[in-house]
């Protein structure tokens, strides 16, 4: 039962956060310079009366909070407005692009965590060995490399020189390999360090000694007792990494010209297509809150101590 109350609490906190962000978002949009009507008409010759008419039709003559509520009600119904530049519905634009971004994020986080956790466990077990030294130093190098430069180098080597993979654009699943590697590189290095540190710490704990004292075989002690504890902070990190990846996707999608949401955001900012920007930021906020809440829930399932000690974290 404690689990359910814990989850509900977390969900309830998320809602005011989302509302708070919508208010902030809306207000920022509101005070941004530039008359939306002019932007919409851009270039067309219109009479001042026509402008006033449009203004009233769009509700722009109303006070701020009224406009906010109109906007909010539209958002909830899924209407994110119209792109100023392409005149298409924002929600449609986003829905078209979202799958590519999600595919990229998924691929890179799986890559990063599989490699990171495995190397982390290996270096923890072989602590102090040559392999450990090499991998540890490599990991520091890996998270010092800027992802976008790494992507350029990968592009150069694999797409241009070796002609193994496409340079840019989406031509199928293999188009995601280089971008996913670029995103995964720094992340996997951090995951490796965290896993290693946690495994080393857990292996020194008394309950592991108890497990050895019971005569359990090595595999059981390492997996069922040690890893089961060490993995908890790694899982926390997993859910915190997802929002980070959303940001990284902006850079990588732009670099590799992938038709994803990140690139759309970048392009829209450049073109001052603020409705699109607003819509994407909103979606990202919702996704971030979902990720965080999901993360909290998963951790509560994995670590019974969290549900027991209210307020105190891992």
């Amino acid at each position: 039962m404690e689990l359910l109350t814990y989850v509900t609490k977390k969900l309830l906190i998320g809602i005011p956060v989302i509302i708070g962000v919508t208010i902030i978002l809306f207000y920022i949009m509101y005070i941004l310079p530039g008359d939306p009507i002019q932007l919409l008409l851009s270039g067309e010759r219109v009479t001042p009366e026509r402008v006033e008419e449009l203004r009233r039709a769009w509700g722009l003559d109303q006070p701020v909070y009224v406009q906010y509520f109109y906007w909010l009600s539209r958002i909830i119904r899924g209407d994110l407005g119209i792109s100023i530049v392409t005149k298409q519905p924002v929600s449609l634009l986003i829905l078209q692009r979202l799958p590519y971004t999600l595919a990229l994020m998924l691929t890179s986080i799986i890559l990063s965590y599989v490699i990171g956790v495995l190397t982390g466990i290996i270096t923890a077990l072989k602590r102090g060995s040559l392999l450990d030294s090499i991998l540890s130093t490599s990991s520091i190098i890996c998270y010092s490399i800027p992802g976008f430069w790494f992507g350029l180098i990968l592009m150069l080597v694999f797409a241009y020189y070796l002609r193994l993979l496409p340079v840019s654009g989406y031509e199928g699943w293999h188009s995601l390999i280089l971008p996913a590697l670029s995103l995964a590189l720094p992340s996997s290095a951090y995951v490796m360090r965290l896993t290693r540190a946690e495994m080393v710490e857990v292996l020194g704990e008394d309950y592991i000694r108890t497990a050895w004292a019971k005569g359990l075989n090595k595999r059981r002690v390492l997996l069922v007792h040690a890893l089961r504890n060490a993995i908890i902070p790694v899982v926390t990190m997993f859910f915190l990494d997802l929002p980070w990846l959303m940001g990284g996707a902006v850079v990588i999608e732009t670099l590799f010209a992938l038709p994803g949401m990140g690139r759309l955001l970048y392009v829209s900012i450049l073109r001052q297509d603020y409705h699109v920007v607003q819509g994407i930021v909103l979606i990202i906020t919702v996704l971030t809150v979902v990720c965080n809440t999901l993360g909290d829930v998963v951790i509560a399932i994995l670590d019974p101590r969290i549900r027991f000690e209210r307020g105190r974290g891992v």
């Binding site: 008394d206 309950y207 000694r209 108890t210 050895w212 005569g215 504890n229 994995l302 019974p304 027991f308």
Partner: protein
């Protein structure tokens, strides 16, 4: 107590265990010889840092990673434990030799329920099914005095109090009915009221399962209550071994005498609390000759240069001192 010769269960010969540290080798157990007989209750006493835990944990080889067993043999049922491979040792641990550790708070896995943790050794050693093992585990939890064992078996360790955790540990370690139970200061971390209960439990289980008990402690009260024979350790060496009565009434080693005088009320009342002057030596660079000589009131030139061997000076009473006769 009949006069039959008890069988030796555990025979430790020339054991040397050092810890590798940045500052050098810590000579925690330095050439120790000890015999433990089947069915007895043996106490290993000494101050903190004298090497008693190291000696005890060397038996199932549960020492920290920087420990090095440099020489010696530990014969258990005709097998030298030190020569066993890891997988061979796995079979003995938990089944023939069990250990109850000092700090119950951290000795249970916090993310697994208590029931499965208690049941684990059964599954590992006797290949029972989990269902059967859990049933046995619940029975064992009940045996060690945990109320509502079925409900409690589904709890996580954080829901248990310190005393209950230690009982669960004892349950865990005795489900396979081991021959030797090593208890490393099992009650030191517990409340005084709980201590007596846990000790009583250990005594009962010892009688019920017919196991041999090796108890590590620094508390002479526990020694008096729990043990038949006792060994006193100082600075990595065993300095006196005898039955409990002799240790208390006629200790031969100056260190033992000093310890007894510190804690045991004498018939003649003393106005001052006695204490042993000085402090235990560094184990990286222990004193030459007898390690106790810097603090010993009876030390002479021989004590500084020649290390005393542990010799049997009367039936069942061993002591490592050059001057044991003169300070009787």
């Amino acid at each position: 107590m009949g006069d039959f010769l008890p069988r030796t269960l555990l025979s430790i010969r020339d054991l040397r265990v050092y810890y590798e540290t940045i500052r050098g080798y810590v000579r925690a157990v330095d050439n120790v010889n000890l015999e433990i007989y089947e069915g007895e209750r043996f106490c290993l006493i000494g101050e903190t840092g004298c090497g008693k835990s190291t000696l005890a944990l060397a038996i199932p080889r549960l020492l920290p990673p920087n420990a090095r067993i440099l020489s010696g043999s530990i014969m258990f049922k005709n097998i030298d434990l030190l020569k066993l491979s890891d997988s061979e040792l796995e079979e003995i641990r938990g089944r023939d030799i069990a250990v109850v550790f000092q700090n119950p708070m951290r000795s249970l896995n916090p993310v697994l329920r208590v029931g499965p943790q208690v049941a684990e050794p059964l599954v590992a050693h006797f290949k029972t099914t989990w269902r059967e093992a859990l049933v046995s585990a619940i029975k064992q939890l009940s045996r060690v005095g945990i109320p509502d064992p079925e409900l409690r078996s589904r709890d996580y360790p954080h829901a248990f109090s310190g005393g209950m955790k230690q009982r669960a540990m004892i349950a865990m370690m005795t489900t396979c009915k081991p021959s030797l139970l090593i208890a490393d200061e099992p009650t030191t971390a517990l409340d005084v009221t709980i201590q007596a209960q846990v000790l009583k439990l250990i005594r009962e289980l010892k009688d019920e399962y017919g196991l041999t008990l090796l108890l590590i402690t620094h508390n002479f009260g526990i020694v008096a209550e729990m043990c038949d024979r006792a060994g006193v350790m100082y600075a990595g060496k065993l300095v006196e071994v005898s039955n409990v009565v002799d240790i208390f009434e006629s200790p031969l080693h100056p260190y033992t005498k000093g310890l007894i005088e510190c804690v045991v009320a004498r018939k003649k009342s003393k106005l001052r609390l006695s204490q042993i002057p000085g402090a235990p030596p560094s184990l990286i660079n222990p004193p030459e000759g007898c390690r106790f000589h810097p603090r010993c009131l009876y030390a002479n030139r021989k004590c500084v240069s020649e290390e005393p061997q542990l010799i049997e000076v009367s039936k069942g009473h061993l002591v490592a001192c050059h001057n044991y006769e003169s300070n009787r």
